[in-house]
């Protein structure tokens, strides 16, 4: 009977890497979305002021 090598640490490293990279990307989408929304609101205010 063969004994499997102990590679659990590598498995954990793999899944942690996936979740970290993926979370960072999703967070970056959220941050960019919020920043753009804030910019849009500010620019709309400026445009209103310009018109009036």
């Amino acid at each position: 009977m063969s004994i499997s090598p102990e590679t659990t640490n590598y498995m954990i490293a793999g899944f942690v890497t996936f979740f970290v990279v993926f979370s960072v990307y999703i967070t970056s989408l959220f941050v960019r979305w919020n920043n753009l929304n804030r910019d849009k609101l500010a620019l709309e205010e400026l445009e209103k002021d310009k018109k009036s």
């Binding site: 102990e6 590679t7 590598y10 490293a13 793999g14 989408l29 960019r32 849009k40």
Partner: protein
């Protein structure tokens, strides 16, 4: 910018559930592979990420062609979204492959055909953003980017076929097994369930993130237009 569609919200939640189930199937449901041990479980996410990465690069090429034919800037937005997301998924695939390779091949990295072509593909699409940043005129930028993605998409089938065309140590799990492959294995029925579910889950996750990223691009364009209006 229109309010987030309900169907996208449902897709967000569905994607999260699918990701959790895919992780469960990979970690708990699929049996441990005897010769490699637990690290083999990384394979389910590795292949799924590589699949959606390549899918996105091809989608970017298609968006590029469509832009060149129509001249409609919305296709430029779709192209950027596809490249950006695919870069992330493909980077994850490369990192997971490297982590798997350490115990399987006794090295983090080796310049064999699959790894080399994958690294080149990733760099080609990294350079895509450098190209975009270097061109100020939006129409010219979109046209150059479209041609670039079209040419760049050639690297995708080359990367995919690399393990089937060249002598390589990278295993071919689906299809014929190379005699030089190290770390190959036959999938049991439970492994196949985890594998195909991960492919399905990541395809849905890709569609969800892609849609969200396209919406971000639309908002970005709206802000740019507003900036120009205010500055006039």
């Amino acid at each position: 910018m229109k309010k987030k569609p309900k169907i996208l919200l449902v897709l967000d939640i569905f994607s999260l559930v699918l990701l959790a189930v895919a992780a469960y199937l990979s970690l708990n449901f699929a049996p441990m592979e005897v010769t490699m041990g637990n690290v083999q479980k990384v394979f389910y996410f590795h292949v799924a990420n590589a699949w959606v990465g390549m899918l996105g690069f091809i989608a970017a090429g298609v968006a590029g062609i469509t832009y060149l034919r129509s001249g409609n800037s919305k296709w430029d937005n779709v192209e950027v979204a596809a490249v950006e997301i695919s870069l992330v998924f493909f980077l994850i695939a490369i990192l997971l492959g490297s982590i798997w390779a350490r115990p399987a091949w006794n090295t983090w990295w080796t310049w064999e055909p699959r790894l080399t072509t994958a690294a080149i593909t990733e760099m080609i699409y990294l350079a895509y953003f450098m190209l975009r940043n270097g061109i100020e005129d939006p129409n010219r930028r979109a046209r150059f980017s479209a041609v670039y993605t079209l040419v760049g998409s050639v690297s995708v089938p080359i990367t995919f076929m690399a393990i089937r065309l060249f002598r390589t140590i990278h295993p071919v799990v689906i299809g014929s097994e190379s005699a030089q492959a190290q770390g190959g294995f036959n999938m049991s029925p439970d492994m196949k369930i985890a594998f195909f579910f991960a492919l399905f889950a990541f395809t849905i996750i890709f569609i969800d993130v892609f849609w969200n990223r396209i919406r971000l691009g639309i908002l970005q364009n709206e802000v740019e237009e507003l900036k120009l209006k205010v500055m006039e």
